[in-house]
């Protein structure tokens, strides 16, 4: 800077303008992944341990298919969803195999973005009938399977058997939410929270467990005519139960705690109960990440009015309709979701790492039964008991449990979860949160054209 006084405002403003434009404009730009060439299968996967295991075992696949090269694009869940949606919606065709969940499969299938897999999967060696029926139906649209399940999960209640014994409490095989609230009050002390429940906004965070609570209390998001019912007494009661439970006896900092935070809290022995995904069990039973190995009991998701209350989620491998080589893509998909692959993981990496909740036959393998003794049974039962067509008391015009399977739900669910998270933080009452949520839901039904 010279010591003279030039008109300073201008150059600075110009520089500032450039910076603003650059930063704002770049925010929306996506990246490029490598692809193309002969018999190259580009796979977009979610960065979790089971998916990373595929990468380490890909050598086996290459031995059988030396003409196919598999390239992985590994991303965290949210980014994967953003990237894959952009790729598929704009028909840019970077990926030959994408990892999607039960929420996306029927919506994307309806849009014609995915290839039906029944024809490919008819090969008896693949044994499509071995796939757990609830998982298969969650990954189907119009009776055709559009995603091959890589692993599946449901939800159940995890509790500390040692604390329950100390307090002289007994956990029933299928507790009600009322009983759970009672246990939480009993076991809540300054060191240990009574229960850990998700509170962080997000349709895939707070709403996943909360929706199962709503459904089991007889509540619903929409009826068959797409009228929203978020301000009904049943939903009111369910959300109040959840919010009171987490406010009175839940973990500290609940409105910012999601699955990961609760898993850590539970693994460190700071909570007596934890209602969440069945995949949490693998971590809680792993001495490297948990200080409570062997002290955890697993029972079915707490209920109120319905017989079962678990959710259902599965990560599936799907082939986008833009794939340049669907045959090669199916070679990979069928390998990664086969019985043979499950055995391979067990033998090479350890039996507790076998992807759970995808195939019935996995649960008949003696080595797996032994390695996953504590949670394999409850996981399988939880998944098998889910009714994805009608999880609550009322019929619903979509398939799925912890979400409404419409494209708008990612937005609607995020907004509703923000309102309820504010109720958990004590910023507003449950009635206020639900009144606003009801408006959002009505608006969505209207603008999405679901109602005539």
């Amino acid at each position: 800077m010279s010591t003279r006084t030039p008109p300073r405002g201008l150059p600075l403003t110009a520089a500032a303008t450039g910076l603003v434009l650059m930063a704002t404009a770049c925010a929306g730009a996506g990246g490029e992944a490598s692809g193309g060439g002969e018999r190259v299968v580009t796979v977009a996967t979610v960065a979790n341990p089971q998916m990373e295991d595929i990468e380490s075992l890909i050598g086996e696949f290459n031995d059988q298919h030396d003409d196919i090269t598999v390239e992985f694009v590994v991303l965290p869940e949210n980014q994967l969803r953003d990237r894959v949606t952009q790729d598929i919606a704009t028909q840019s065709g970077q990926y030959d195999v994408v990892t999607v969940g039960t929420y996306e499969v029927p919506i994307w299938a309806e849009n014609g973005w995915l290839l039906g897999l029944d024809e490919y999967a008819a090969d008896p060696e693949y044994d499509i009938d071995d796939i757990i029926p609830t998982v298969r139906s969650a990954l189907s649209y119009d009776d055709q399977m559009y995603g091959a399940p890589f692993y599946g999960e449901s939800s159940f209640l995890m509790y500390r058997t040692d604390l329950f014994e100390e307090a002289g409490l007994e956990m029933p095989d299928q507790p009600t939410w009322e009983e759970v609230a009672g246990f939480a009050a009993e076991l809540d002390d300054s060191d240990t929270a009574g229960i850990c429940l998700r509170g962080v906004p997000g349709w895939g965070e707070l709403l996943a467990p909360l929706n199962t609570v709503i459904l089991t209390h007889g509540g619903q998001w929409y009826d068959e005519e797409w009228n929203a019912h978020l301000d009904s007494p049943e939903v009111q009661e369910a959300v109040q139960t959840y919010v009171d439970l987490v406010r009175d006896h839940g973990q500290a900092g609940a409105p910012n705690a999601g699955f990961t935070e609760c898993l850590t809290t539970m693994a460190q022995g700071d909570a007596a109960m934890f209602y969440d995904s069945t995949v949490a069990a693998g971590n809680l039973e792993d001495p490297e990440s948990s200080s409570v190995v062997g002290d955890i009991g697993y029972v079915a998701a707490p209920v109120a009015e319905t017989d079962h209350a678990g959710w259902l989620w599965a990560w599936a491998l799907s082939i986008p309709s833009t794939s340049t080589d669907p045959e090669a893509a199916w070679e990979f998909v069928s390998w990664a979701t086969s019985k043979e692959y499950h055995r391979l993981v067990g033998e090479e990496l350890g039996w507790e790492r076998v992807p759970p909740g995808a195939r019935v036959s996995t649960y008949d393998i003696p080595e797996y039964q032994e390695a996953a003794a504590a949670f394999a049974g409850p996981t399988f039962e939880a998944i098998e008991n889910v009714d994805v067509e009608q999880p609550g008391l009322h019929p619903q015009p979509w398939t799925g449990v912890q979400y409404v399977a419409i494209p708008e739900f990612q937005d609607l669910g995020t907004r509703v979860s923000q309102e309820i998270s504010a109720a958990i933080a004590g910023q507003q009452s449950v009635e206020e949160a639900l009144a606003t949520s009801q408006e959002y839901a009505e608006e969505t039904a209207e603008s999405g054209g679901y109602r005539d």
Partner: protein
């Protein structure tokens, strides 16, 4: 600053000879590719953003698309959540910039003095600015703010107080993280300003009997003026775009308490996949930022001009 000055612009030198046309292009020519590159990189995406802001485009609905006029702008400006995000952005930016500016000035004044180990202290002070924003946010979320094992609560617990920082003061929590990150930046700029003060002037002030406070007010502060302006402007422009801390710590919650404009746009683009509305919101934000940046600069400049 002792950057290379072209011969002729130094003070007291004879006025520079007019360059011929050829000579001028000889100097500009090599810069052109760089200039074109920057223009392409910054302006083309922006033009696309403008284009999309006039389209009815939702990625999840293949049948959507087509010109929609100003509908997206109407939808965005009429959205109470957008207006809430504007308010949050203003509070967040003003709070974080002012706090880090004041702290940065204080630290710069302290570091301007010579003492043993100054180099080490300065390096340590700069560290927060070098930490990746995502890592910094995660660090604050778990090791500082956590209501059970956070350091902040550990410090105040002897007084019998326990605060759930992020829930009770969501916006303040984010402001503190940003201030922690940006104080070193402010400090660096202001320290450069302080160290560029001519020692003779300070010496003369002391000889004339001015105390440290008087010296600061009459000499140092006016000298720092331009550095303060620069720090304020750059800080504002960067902090307006805060995303990492909000994404990592609060996800915009509880409720809408910490949803700022970038996070709002993110939700529009990647939760609702409303590309058109997200683009419209982006254009509105750019326009507003430009206006504010220019306006703020004018105000600040004239204010200081009058004072000195």
């Amino acid at each position: 600053m002792t950057a290379q000055t072209t011969p002729g612009t130094a003070r007291g030198a004879p006025a520079p000879r007019e360059l011929t046309r050829g000579e001028r292009w000889g100097r500009r020519g090599p810069l052109l590719p760089g200039l074109l590159f920057v223009i392409a990189l910054t302006q083309i995406p922006f033009l696309f953003t403008v284009y999309y802001s006039f389209q009815d485009s939702n990625l999840l609905r293949p049948e959507s698309g087509g010109f929609s006029g100003l509908a997206n702008y109407g939808a965005v400006l009429g959205d109470p959540l957008f207006r809430n995000a504007v308010v949050n952005t203003v509070l967040l930016t003003a709070g974080a910039v002012l706090l880090s500016l004041v702290l940065g000035l204080g630290l710069a004044l302290l570091l301007d003095r010579a003492f043993l180990g100054r180099g080490v202290v300065r390096t340590l002070m700069i560290t927060p600015f070098l930490v990746m924003p995502v890592a910094a946010a995660l660090l604050w979320k778990t090791s500082m703010y956590h209501p059970v094992y956070g350091l902040l609560n550990w410090v105040i617990s002897p007084f019998g107080v326990r605060v759930d920082w992020v829930n009770d003061f969501p916006l303040l929590s984010i402001i503190l993280v940003l201030a922690w990150q940006w104080t070193p930046f402010m400090m660096l700029i202001l320290l450069a300003g302080l160290q560029s003060q001519p020692p003779e002037v300070l010496e003369a002030a002391r000889v004339d009997g001015a105390g440290p406070l008087e010296t600061f007010r009459s000499i140092t502060f006016p000298h720092l003026r331009r550095f303060l302006e620069l720090a304020l402007l750059l800080g504002t422009i960067y902090i307006v775009q805060t995303f990492d801390a909000i994404y990592m710590i609060t996800q915009g919650g509880p409720g809408q308490a910490t949803t700022n404009l970038p996070y709002f746009i993110y939700l529009q683009a990647f939760r609702a996949f409303e590309v058109g509305e997200a683009a419209a919101a982006g254009v509105v934000v750019v326009a507003a930022t430009l206006v504010i940046a220019m306006f703020a600069l004018r105000v600040v400049s004239s204010l200081f001009e009058e004072e000195s």
